[in-house]
Amino acid sequence: MATVADTHGAEHEHGPAKGILRWITTTNHKDIGTLYLTFAMIMFLVGGTMALIIRAELYQPGLQLVDPHFFNQMTTLHALIMVFGAVMPAFAGFANWMIPPMIGAPDMALPRLNNWSFWILPFAATLLSATLFMDGGAVASGWTLYPPLVLQFGNALPFTIFSVHLLGISSILASINIIVTIFNLRAPGLTMMKMPMFCWTWLITAFLLILVMPVLAGAVTMLLFDKFFDTSFFDAAGGGDPVLFQHLFWFFGHPEVYIIILPAFGIISQVIPTFSRKPLFGKNSMIFATAVIGFLSFIVWAHHQFTVGMPVPAELYFMYATMLIAVPTGVKVFNWLATMWKGSLTFETPMLHALGFLVLFVLGGFTGIMMSQVPADLYYHDNYFIVAHFHYTLVGGGVFGIFAGLFYWLPKWTGTMYDEKLGKLHFWLSFLGFNLLFMPQHFLGLAGMPRRIPDYAVQFTEFNQMSTVGAFIFGFTQLLLIYIVYKCVKGEGEKVGDEVWEGAKSHGLEWNLPSPMPYHHSFEGIDIQKAVADE
């Protein structure tokens, strides 16, 4: 028999400290998870407001609300904030809350580092947002920060680059912590292959992060050098090459897509078996498929650059390599379907979001395969088809994965069941609003509407109006999410037991713990080896 206890010592016997200092000085993984999730929600609203400004401007052709330069600032900041400020921190929040209990550890391996990795974020996000108020406004080059355009922006550029560095440092610290925790703090008997899928997907995500973040950091630092130190990394006049930046950016940027989606895969792999009342079908193949997706994400980056003038052999290589990603992704999708096959399915809110994820992510995946074809991509490139595609994968996949995880684990965290009726209403409004928002953008793209423009030809009006209505439905529905979470956190709802969902104990160690989970010493008195064996 072996149990795992906290190694912090007697000073941690008390509950949480009181007041604001609790949140500033905390090293508790649950507190830090809550901080990450709260921060992500705030950033989701900030980035979402920017999206609504974009969509409001595009409701009609012509310029109504904002000038073109401000419009471009909105598209840039919306993307940077959503990727680095909302989605990634949300998954870091889930990792903090769930990885220690899932592997039988008392906390993250490096609790102080954990505190720092979170508290870098608010400063970085504030710095990034504050560039809007500088002379000349924020950087308006798009989140790709391509030179030479980005080098033409004034005061905002160094601050944007500094904030990108800070956001990257935060991600790296979180990743290192997750790697060390998973490798060194697993409970006795919990071998790597027995580890839950959520931990596996986060482990592979952490590897991706620490491998690609230095590339982004190097690339943006070279931008800074070109701007302020007269180097010519990306300046053709000085012997440099602006296309080099594109290679650097997308070497980071393509794995970044998987950094956003893999933890969502992990959440879905926890949710679907629970509500199918079956073990996950083909778990080992799911692990290998995740690893293969992680590997392939490193060797396909230039499919973002087909129009740049690559040699044909290179285009062919990147096309075929990109198409290959459909194979491990297909393994995952079919395994989820096989898990549901002949299961005792019920459709509580987390399961609805998981199914919504499946539908939307598969649609986004299909359009991805369409764009992997070089001749077709020459047409799709830089039009609204690509905007629809990546929102289907990153919002339909990433954000719906976050929603699924939130509704799945919220009762475990708070000890209170969320309002199921409101949860289902939130799902349906989000699902319908999302499709109304992004489905028409496929047709806008196919009809030839370019992205990142504040004005368009009149024949695109109807689809743009549908898209804008969908955006406002999707956006305002998230206020309902905040209300649902608020009610749950306040304890307004049915109290739940340890095993919140029927049969959940067979799907993860975390369901052996009381609801809400104790602030410290999570596994006191629980025989982890037995619990692992029972899974």
Partner: protein, 155 residues
Amino acid sequence: MIQRQSLGHGGEYRLVLRPNASLTPGQARLLVGLLGLMMAVIGFGFAAVGAWLVLPFSGGELLLLIYALSCSMRWSAAREVITIGQDKVFIEKGVEGEQRYQFPRAWLQIDWRPGPMPHLLVGSHGKWVEVGTFLGEEEKRALARTLQQARSLEF
């Protein structure tokens, strides 16, 4: 976790208490080596085409990972060794047994302090030391029972 080792003379034995650690030093070296290799391929690859500024970031990150791993492994290398001898009980705590205590076996007292995380103290003549700080409650109870038996049993 608790390991019991018989010392093979006169029924003396030793209890080795360790925090949980699922990574061996060899595995840690392999992990760092693999990640370092991948970082080197990426960093030197980009340096070869002129983007040498990737390298210092990769190197810095690798050093940070090594530091983080070594911190975690140093903490998990801590030990508490309780040796039950003929007349005395010896307690060594720390990575290298930096803190050493000894108590007369016949006078050994055991103090169980309940709470969210119960504390197990052993001592005699007014001198106390906490043991089993990185054990779970059930293991700590088992340790307390073992120590009580050690006090009352003859070899």
